[in-house]
């Protein structure tokens, strides 16, 4: 399509501008429609992931899990809340009269929000290393078994005996009775991936 005269040109460029504007609008509409579709897909995906994680612990297949498994379920979805944060989440999903069971209908919306808001992000490797280094004040590169047990069972949110034993069984080198934390972290990271 070509134009001949300047005034035609003006009209044409007006038309062009109009078309362009319409194009931009429709393009924007398309983009926001796509974004909406994408976010719907993402939401559906979140829902399916949460459902899968929940169902694995739903032993009676009646859409409930034992309240004591909630922490495990949330963490298996990739989040790293502290014990305190789990307690807060529990308050949102428990029944008014706690039954010892959490229902899926209550869990789903709360957990979806957690995933959408990307809450409780996992600890980066370097932060973890830094934490060990704080505890290893003498900068030896390792912690003795007694030191590790003391810190883990007396400070912060203390470990239960079972948690402590499990950590020791993998971390402690029985020969030196200590944990080389750099190696330990590397091993755990590889294992997870």
């Amino acid at each position: 399509m070509y134009c001949l005269l300047t005034d035609r040109k003006a009209t044409w460029s007006n038309k062009q501008r109009l078309t362009e504007r319409r194009g931009i609008i429709s393009c924007n509409e398309n983009r926001s429609r796509d974004r909406k579709k994408n976010s719907q897909l993402v939401l559906a995906d979140f829902h399916k992931k949460i459902k899968e994680a929940f169902e694995v612990f739903d032993h009676e297949s009646n859409n409930t899990v034992d309240v004591r498994e909630i922490g495990t379920i949330i963490r298996s979805l990739g989040c790293c809340p502290s014990e305190g944060e789990i307690h807060d989440l529990l308050a949102e999903v428990e029944e008014e009269e706690p039954t010892g069971y959490i229902r899926y209908e209550k869990f789903l919306p709360v957990m979806t929000k957690v995933l959408q808001e990307r809450r409780y992000r996992p600890i980066p490797e370097d932060v973890l290393l830094g934490a060990f280094e704080v505890l290893d004040s003498a900068k030896r590169g390792f912690l003795t078994k007694e030191e590790l047990v003391k810190y883990m069972t007396e400070e912060g949110e203390p470990f239960s005996q079972e948690e402590m034993e499990e950590m020791l069984s993998a971390a402690i080198d029985p020969g030196s009775n200590s944990v080389n934390y750099k190696e330990y972290i590397t091993m755990m990271v590889i294992d997870e991936n």
């Binding site: 559906a44 995906d45 399916k48 992931k49 899968e52 994680a53 169902e55 694995v56 612990f57 032993h59 009676e60 297949s61 009646n62 859409n63 409930t64 922490g71 495990t72 379920i73 949330i74 963490r75 298996s76 989040c79 790293c80 809340p81 502290s82 014990e83 996992p122 600890i123 932060v127 973890l128 830094g130 934490a131 060990f132 704080v134 505890l135 810190y151 883990m152 400070e155 912060g156 949110e157 203390p158 470990f159 948690e163 499990e166 950590m167 069984s169 993998a170 755990m188 294992d191 997870e192």
Partner: protein, 651 residues
């Protein structure tokens, strides 16, 4: 309250607290993800186990089909049909004649039992089995004969009473795990007049010491018949044994007399009591109940007529009762195989009675209300808490103790405390998969649970090793399932791959896997272990089949045939075993061909007869017209590409 000079100390300890929090937080996350992976592995094991059982139950339809369509072409053939539908046991001679015919050589160094048995025989047997000795067939048969005699006098349900000084212990599935039985006796004491036990079925199959476990239990029963109670489980069934390993174990350990043992074992199974009732309050049965469970009927029926869950009562057709043919077994048959009503009604259970027993042996409790067919197992039902309340109330009972399902902690309580599942085979699926447990009950007291786990080493390997081992094992059997449905899966994937890019979304992949394999698994969570996923989250679906393929015994054979034979190999195992009535391990080419034709028709398998023929011919290595079917089936196995690598990694 601190003063200013300790503010640096405060700061320091604040840092320490923060550091501790970081480590604890990270570790708990890691540990939780490990536990979740452990649960996923368990779910895989369980789904596949139940799917297998479902396939098993469908076999009974095949046998009925076979009966209706099998036209005997030779004189010996009626034996095949009657083998399936014998309703009276072969006239097994008296023990003295039967067992007496078997000599125990002087060179035999194993345990020698003396009848009538006493507690020293129990001790002797335990010691011998700990040293991995094998009990001579002479004694095995002796025990079985004595057990048969004694069980015949017992009612369908054993009623026991406890007292404050005499608690009773209830154990669940053992499945041939001898170490678990040793551990239970070690922790809880040997059975005796003061230490009664109930063993709630499934003593055999899957584990490698089923015969030893069974012998210990039967000998204990013969010594303490009023204090050692045995309930029948769904694996106390000669057809289940054909598939799940017990038949094979017996034929391997007792090459000469195995057949005799299997014969009388069949009968002993039918005489095992259906259940135990404790203090008129607690019902102990292997599987569960249904909404129509009729305890009065179950008390009355003739349990010895319940031969196998795969042998439902034959349909009685009065119209076809024209040609009569007497078979070797002394049963009158009409061609093509219908049985005369007058002869049969006294020799079979009614359909209703048969179903009542299947419900008891196969049902599972679930949270959902109501009663539904048990679709994963293919028999019995799922019963809800309302069904439990209704049935328990009807018979003024307070609790149901059952087994049948593997539980992570060895036991599980559901239905508001009214149903307890007790499972006594630890490490059932894999090292570290679950604990075993038993219950001690005393009248008026709450049940006490005792858990344990058998380990081969003195200290347990760290959690992540155990989870790894379990996971690898579960993924391995899942991959074998996947490869056995390759053709159907590829078809499903390609249907969804409109652009022929070789990729589909995770959701589409998960949906295809679930619908074709019929396994309700967390596919999204497992996807990273099973397929390659690109950065945009799409699945390269052909990677579902990488690392694994079915070994072709012969190059020229079509892969669809291989896949089908691999997929149905367990069913074929049973069918072959049934046809092979003299347990020789061989069937004739003609029997094979006939069976294959029927199989193909019933299972709607679209494979040319000539292909199977050609395959069978190559398998008939002796060229003597018979096929060693164990060799035939063994030829179809799955090769895991990285098998050698992975085993060396694990160590």
């Amino acid at each position: 309250m601190g003063c200013s000079s300790s503010s640096t100390e405060n700061k320091k300890s604040e840092k320490v607290v923060k550091a501790a929090l970081v480590i604890q937080n990270w570790y708990r996350g890691y540990r939780a993800r490990l536990k979740a992976r452990q649960h996923y592995a368990l779910t895989i094991f369980q789904s596949i186990e139940y799917a297998d059982e479902q396939g098993q139950m469908q076999l009974s339809n095949f046998f009925t089909f076979m009966l209706e369509n099998f036209t005997p072409s030779r004189k010996e053939d009626p034996a095949l049909v009657s083998r399936l539908f014998e309703t009276t046991f072969q006239d097994i001679k008296d023990r003295r004649d039967y067992v007496g015919l078997i000599d125990v050589p002087d060179s035999y160094e194993g345990p020698r039992l003396e009848f009538p048995l006493t507690f020293t025989d129990i001790g002797q047997l335990l010691e011998a089995f700990k040293q991995q000795q094998i009990l001579h067939a002479h004694y095995v048969l002796g025990v079985l004969f004595e057990t048969r005699k004694l069980l015949k006098q017992m009612p369908n349900f054993t009623h026991v009473k406890t007292s404050p000084s005499k608690e009773i212990t209830v154990c669940g599935d053992l499945h041939g795990k001898l170490d678990d039985l040793f551990l239970i006796f070690y922790k809880n004491g040997l059975p005796s007049g003061n230490n009664p036990y109930v063993f709630n079925g499934d003593f055999v199959d899957r584990g490698s010491n089923s015969i030893e476990v069974l012998m210990i239990l039967l000998v204990s029963f013969l010594v303490y018949p009023n204090d050692l109670h045995l309930n029948r489980g769904n694996h106390e069934d000669f057809m289940m044994n054909m598939r799940y390993g017990f038949t094979r174990e017996i034929l391997n350990k007792y090459k000469l007399h195995g057949k005799k043992i299997l014969q009388i074992l069949e009968e002993v199974y039918t005489l095992l009591p259906i259940g135990t009732i404790i203090d008129n309050e607690i019902l102990v049965i292997h599987g569960g109940i249904s909404e129509s469970t009729d305890l009065n009927l179950l008390h009355r029926l003739e349990r010895s007529k319940m031969r196998s869950v795969l042998m439902p009562p034959v349909s009685i057709n009065k119209d076809n009762a024209t040609d009569l043919k007497k078979s070797k077994m002394g049963i009158t048959l009409t061609a093509p195989g219908r049985v005369r009503s007058s002869d049969l009604s006294s020799e079979q259970l009614s359909k209703h009675e048969w179903e009542q027993i299947v419900d008891i042996l196969w049902s599972d409790p679930r949270g959902r209300k109501g009663c539904y067919p048990n679709t994963s197992r293919g028999g019995g039902c799922y019963f809800g808490p309302d069904v439990t309340s209704k049935v328990l109330n009807k018979y003024q009972l307070k609790m149901l103790i059952r087994s049948h399902e593997c539980k992570h902690d060895g036991y599980e309580i559901c239905h508001d405390g009214k149903v307890i599942t007790i499972f006594s085979a630890s490490n059932y699926y894999e090292e570290g998969s679950n604990r075993g447990a038993y219950i001690r009950l005393g009248c008026g007291m709450n049940p006490r649970f005792f858990q344990y786990r058998v380990t081969s080493s003195t200290c347990m390997s760290p959690l992540h090793h155990r989870v790894h081992a379990m996971e690898n094992s579960a993924i391995r059997i899942l991959k074998e399932r996947i490869i056995s449905r390759k053709t159907d899966l590829m078809h499903a994937f390609q249907l969804r791959d409109h652009s022929r890019s070789g990729k589909i979304s995770i959701a589409q992949w998960a949906f295809s896997m679930e619908s074709i394999l019929g396994l309700n698994l967390p596919w999204r969570s497992l996807s990273s272990r099973l397929v390659n996923i690109d950065k945009s989250g799409n699945v390269d679906y052909m990677s579902s089949f990488q690392d694994v393929h079915i070994e072709k015994p012969v190059k020229e054979v079509h892969s669809t045939l291989i896949e089908t034979l691999y997929r149905y190999r367990s069913d074929l195992q049973i069918i072959f075993n049934v046809i092979d009535s003299d347990h020789s391990g061989m069937i004739s080419m003609e029997e094979f061909r006939t069976m294959w034709k029927l199989f193909r028709t019933h299972y709607s398998v679209d494979i040319d007869d000539s292909q199977v023929d050609a395959l069978a011919n190559t398998m008939d290595l002796n060229k003597d017209g018979s096929i060693d079917f164990n060799e035939f089936l063994k030829a179809f196995y799955v090769v895991h590409k990285y098998e050698k690598l992975s085993t060396s990694e694990a160590s």
